[in-house]
Structures are given as structure tokens and as C-alpha cells.
Amino acid sequence: MQSFFAAYTWDNLRYLLQGLWVTVEVSVVSILFSFILGTLLGVARYVKIKYFSAIVGFVIDLIRNLPLLLILFFTYFALPDIGIRLPVIPAAIVAMTVFESAMLAEIVRSGINAVPVGQMEAARSNGLSYTQAMTKIIMPQAFKKMIPPIVSQFISLVKDTSLATIILLPELTYHAQIIYGQNINYMIPMFVALAALYFIVNYALSIASRVIDRRMSRAPR
């Protein structure tokens, strides 16, 4: 037991927290970008513009059906082949954003689909343009329904950043690996710390989502 706590030296904890910081940094930036891009893509797929929506839909399907690990590899090692060369943190952000946007686009599309057709018809018959109806009537209702799946997608995103150890992103899991790689007695304490840190971040996210959800459903219409 003594040796268990001996693993949590000041240096090791600092090194772990440095990793956690990169995890949070990459997660937050990717969440912001993928939320914007995912919404745009989801709407683009929903509105059914000839060819355009079909192509967008197909690309979304392609990305959704590939492992993130492969997309990470591609972004870091294959994009330079066509002239796009990124340092490791931007590369991780780009890969996460591409993958998670595709996942979010599906959530957004099915969220919009879940809004009754009558809403659009009513809005249009009241003289709103299609765009107005979309932004003022349909999307606000759709987003309310989408909050739980979107947040669980964000939780996935935070967890998925651990996969970027494959391109040596200096995030939480990678730093833990370096620590126990140098002293095997630190292995179990590091895994406990990993589980605890990821749990805290993600559980906080899911509590936040519940609060937002409750507030929104209580809000007067």
C-alpha cells in the first residue's frame, strides 16, 4: 500500500496533469470545431439539395464507418503526402474534428428529422422563409432534443483523445505510459489515476448536460 502511494510523487503528478491539460485542450477545441462543422454538415445533409446533399451524406457515412485510429494516422502521416503538414497537436485536433463532425452530423440530422413536419409547414404558412423557419423554429427545437446524444458524443471525444497516443500526442494516457514504462511499480497507481481523471472530466460533462437539459425543459415557451 505504501508503494502504491509512493507512485504519486510531485513530479509524476505534475507530468500527469500536463498530459491532462493537453487532453482537455485538444478536447475543447475539437468539441467547438466539430459542433459547428457537424451542425453545418447535418443541415446540409437534411436539406436535400440535389447531388450536394448526397455527396455530403456519403462522405459523412465514409468517415463514420472508419476507425478514428486510422483517421489519426492518415492526418499525421498521409496528409503530408499532399502538402498538408501539421505538428502533432493541430493534427490531433483536425483528425478528432473530422471524425466527430461526421458523428455529430448524424445526430443533428436525426434531431431535425424528429421535429414534426407540421412545424415547418406552419412556419412557412405564417410567412417565414425557409431559412427563417429553419433557424428560428426548427433548429431550436431540434437542439433541445439533441443535447443528450451530443453530450455523450463529447464524452466519447474526450475518451477518444487517448487514441492519439498512436501519433505520440503528449496527452494523459501517453504520459501515464511514460511514467510506468520507467518504473513498473507505478503501473497500477497510474492506471487508477488514469481511470479517476477521465472519470472526473467525463462525469462532470454528463452532469452539466443533465443540468442544461433540465433548465431547457423547464424554460417557458
Partner: protein, 273 residues
């Protein structure tokens, strides 16, 4: 109806055509030496998981080792005392794509010069002579590569030529490939394999870190390490060779060997030079 069904297929073909068109090109062709001189900076791919050669120091958050010191010394030789050596972490698995993609100018990361690699990369003159050996737990029945019989498992690292070498030297053994040396050593300690194989220098570093593990059987290959650059970077290659010559001549090389390998069997200046 049939037309609609076909659309995904057509799109797939279009996607593949685009992807294939992207294959041939490469933009890592600019003169790396001129670029380094213009920016006063050389970008090096180095290991961070390999004791003695390149290991992350958790206390200082700096990578330390013989390869690191060499990279810094060579940078100063080429770019002058104000030249900056940027260190980017690589593993055996990632160093070739990083070079080919132009993410790094040069790799100094326990990399053996092999004919296969020479087809796609430029190498400097050898700067260190290692040889492949085995690392086992103290008291293991495995004493040399001959003991790697059917039913044994040996751990290696993806992208290292030691994996190919051990497959040739002991075709009966099962080879498990992990992504870096930290992972590989952890796997050995967890009992995932009976031995770990790579170059003796790396293995001595591991043994120094955990005395329950010992290097056995002597070396069964010769592994001359070189600095790797992308194919066609002949100016940079020439500059590297000159710099290594200068470091040997002015005593820096001997000093660094002494700093990192003093007292480790098989690594006197005479043996590695």
C-alpha cells in the same frame, strides 16, 4: 430506382479515383539544408522511450540521451553556435513516415542502416555500432537466440529491423510487435513474452533501469546506426557527414560516448566507433 441505388457506388469510385490521384505526389522535396539555414533550425526526430539514447526525463520534461546530445552537437556544427535543434518525438514505427512526409528534417533515433531503408532514405555515415541481443528476466532458461524454439514468444517493436532479424535467426518463435520500447518493456515485465529483442545498447538501458532483467547471449547481428534523411536530400547528407567527421576530430564524439556508455560492456569508444 436502379439509378438511385447506383449513386453510392459511383461516389465510391469517384472517392477512390481522387484518393489514388493524390498518391504519387510528394512535397517533402525542398532542399532541407537551405531551409534549415534560412530558419536557423534543424528539426530532428528522436526517441523518447529509449534509455541512454533518448529518454523523457519526467522531472525536467526534457528528452535526454546520446542521440539527443549528438543531434544538438551536429546542429551547432552545421548552423553555427546559435543554431537551434528542434526535437520531435518519433518511434521506430513512425520515423519513416515522419521523414517521408517532411515532418522532420532528420532522424537520429537508434536507426540501423539497412539496404531496404536505403532504397527510400538517405543515410549519413555510421555514427554508432550496435548489435542485436536478447533481454530476459534473471534466471530465464533462454540464454541465446538458439533457445528461441517453438512455443516461445519474443517481443519486438514495430518498424524496427530487429523484428525481421529475429524472424530469420529463430523462425520458430512467435514475434509480438508493440508500438514503442516503453510498451515493449512493460509487456515483457507483464509476462507477455519470454524475451525482448532489439539492439544491445537499448537493452542495456532497460537492464540498467530494472536490474531484474539481463542481456544474454551476445550480439547476433551488426547494427550500424546512421542519421536518416529523406531520399534526395544530398546536401543535408553531405553536411551531416562533415559534421560527424568534425565531432570525431575535435573530441566531442569521444566525450559523449564516455558520458553515456562508460562502464557498459561492449561500448568502449573502440567498439562503437
Amino acid at each position: 430506382m436502379a439509378k438511385r441505388r447506383l449513386r453510392p457506388l459511383l461516389l465510391l469510385v469517384a472517392f477512390l479515383a481522387l484518393a489514388l490521384a493524390g498518391c504519387g505526389k510528394s512535397v517533402a522535396d525542398r532542399d532541407a539544408l537551405a531551409h534549415a539555414k534560412a530558419t536557423n533550425k534543424l528539426v530532428w526526430g528522436v526517441k523518447a522511450d529509449t534509455r541512454l539514447f533518448g529518454l523523457m526525463n519526467i522531472k525536467t520534461d526534457q528528452i535526454e540521451g546520446f542521440d539527443i546530445d549528438m543531434a544538438k552537437a551536429i546542429t551547432k556544427q552545421i548552423l553555427g553556435p546559435k543554431g537551434k535543434a528542434d526535437l520531435v518525438q518519433v518511434t521506430s514505427d513512425t520515423r519513416v513516415p515522419m521523414l517521408k512526409g517532411g515532418n522532420v528534417d532528420a532522424v537520429i533515433a537508434t536507426m540501423t542502416i539497412t539496404p531496404d531503408r536505403q532504397k527510400v532514405l538517405n543515410f549519413s555515415q555510421p555514427y554508432f555500432n550496435a548489435g542485436q541481443a536478447l533481454l530476459v528476466k534473471k534466471g530465464s532458461p533462454i540464454k541465446s537466440v538458439k533457445d528461441l524454439v517453438k512455443g516461445t514468444k519474443v517481443i519486438g517493436v514495430q518498424g524496427s529491423n530487429s523484428v525481421d532479424n529475429v524472424k530469420k535467426a529463430a523462425p520458430q518463435t512467435q514475434v509480438l510487435q508493440l508500438s514503442d520500447y516503453a510498451q515493449a518493456f512493460t509487456a515483457l515485465k507483464s509476462g507477455q513474452g519470454d524475451a525482448l529483442t532489439t539492439d544491445n545498447g537499448i537493452l542495456y538501458g532497460m537492464s540498467e533501469q530494472d536490474h531484474d532483467y539481463v542481456v544474454v547471449g551476445g550480439t547476433f547481428t551488426k547494427e550500424p546506426y546512421g542519421i536518416a534523411m529523406n531520399k534526395g536530400q544530398d546536401n543535408l547528407t553531405k553536411a551531416m557527414n562533415t559534421a560527424v567527421d568534425q565531432l570525431r576530430a575535435n573530441g566531442t564524439y569521444a566525450k559523449l560516448i564516455n558520458k553515456w556508455f562508460k562502464g557498459i560492456p561492449g561500448f568502449s569508444l573502440k567498439e562503437v566507433e
